[in-house]
């Protein structure tokens, strides 16, 4: 799966190029390919943990996108309701949300998704460190304080993000952590 990452990136850049020009002719696509290759060499991310090793699973990326669009609509309806209420019932708070997946890529995806989904806004992030086992932590601002529900919805996004961009060990780790959490919730 790892081998898919670079080709997917190049294809995306070519599509982007063609869309910007509005021209899907073969000469334009070739020009796009050249630019895409140059860009992927020059703009290689440095210092991003787990970037090289990160898998890319197209099917789960699609599922993630679909779930995300659904959340975007739901979130807007709920915020709109709050905005239009005569007296908004807000119970604001900042919650620290420890994530289970270590890589910066997954944390980025989750942080962005949180901002566009119901009642939550990523405010700050403390990045994780796999060598010391330090968990990444997101600081999330919520409009309606309900710690468990917020954590549940964020972990659901995290699990999908790991399925799309994480290794199978990470997925296993997330699953184990979530099972533990479910058991803890029952007690």
């Amino acid at each position: 799966m790892n081998a898919l990452r670079l080709p997917m990136l190049v294809i995306w850049l070519i599509v982007l190029w063609a869309l910007l020009w509005g021209d899907f002719g073969i000469d334009n696509l070739v020009a796009g390919l050249v630019i895409a290759l140059i860009v992927t060499v020059i703009a290689r991310p440095t210092g991003v943990s787990g970037y090289e090793a990160a898998p890319f699973r197209p099917w789960w990326v699609l599922v993630l996108c679909g779930y995300f669009l659904y959340l975007l609509v739901v979130s807007n309806l709920s915020v709109a309701r709050e905005i239009l209420r005569p007296r908004p019932q807000l119970q604001r708070a900042i919650i620290a949300v420890p994530l289970h997946a270590g890589t910066d890529g997954v944390v980025t995806v989750v942080a962005n998704a949180i901002t566009l989904t119901p009642g939550t806004l990523t405010v700050d992030v403390r990045s994780g460190d796999e060598t010391t086992g330090r968990q990444p932590v997101l600081y999330v601002h919520v409009l309606q304080l309900d710690r468990e529900a917020t954590l549940d919805s964020i972990y659901r996004i995290e699990r999908l993000a790991v399925r799309a961009f994480g290794t199978s060990e990470q997925l296993a780790a997330v699953d184990a952590a979530l099972r533990e959490r479910a058991v803890g919730g029952v007690q």
Partner: protein, 114 residues
């Protein structure tokens, strides 16, 4: 028929953009306002783009609008992060609402890292 659909989508989209504006004005503090500013106009733009794509109905317009939507979805949260992060670091007092327990929790996590 397609005109009706596109008109509905565009009006809905404008409605969400307006709601975002109203929320930015009505909500009580910077971070709450960011919720309104980051989400509603994003969906608004998506709806307007879909409506416009249906109305204009050429491949070029559709692909360009698709690009607008994708880039908006990718970048809108980033602006919100940058602003709220700066807010949190400089105006800590303002966001210390009524949640001592959670703030204590947050503190202990910070201690772990030290």
């Amino acid at each position: 028929m397609s005109d009706a659909i596109s008109a509905t989508l565009i009006v809905l989209g404008c409605g969400f953009a307006a709601i975002g504006g109203i929320g930015t004005w009505r909500f009580p503090d910077v971070l709450s306002r960011m919720h309104a500013a980051a989400k509603a106009p994003t969906l608004g733009l998506v709806l307007v783009s879909i409506g416009a794509a249906i109305r204009i109905d050429t491949l070029l317009a559709t692909t360009t609008l698709l690009l607008v939507v994708i880039l908006q979805l990718l970048t809108s949260p980033l602006g919100a992060h940058a602003l709220s992060r700066a807010t949190r670091r400089h105006l800590d007092a303002e966001v210390d609402d009524d949640v001592d327990e959670l703030l204590a929790d947050e503190q202990s996590l910070d201690d772990d890292s030290a």
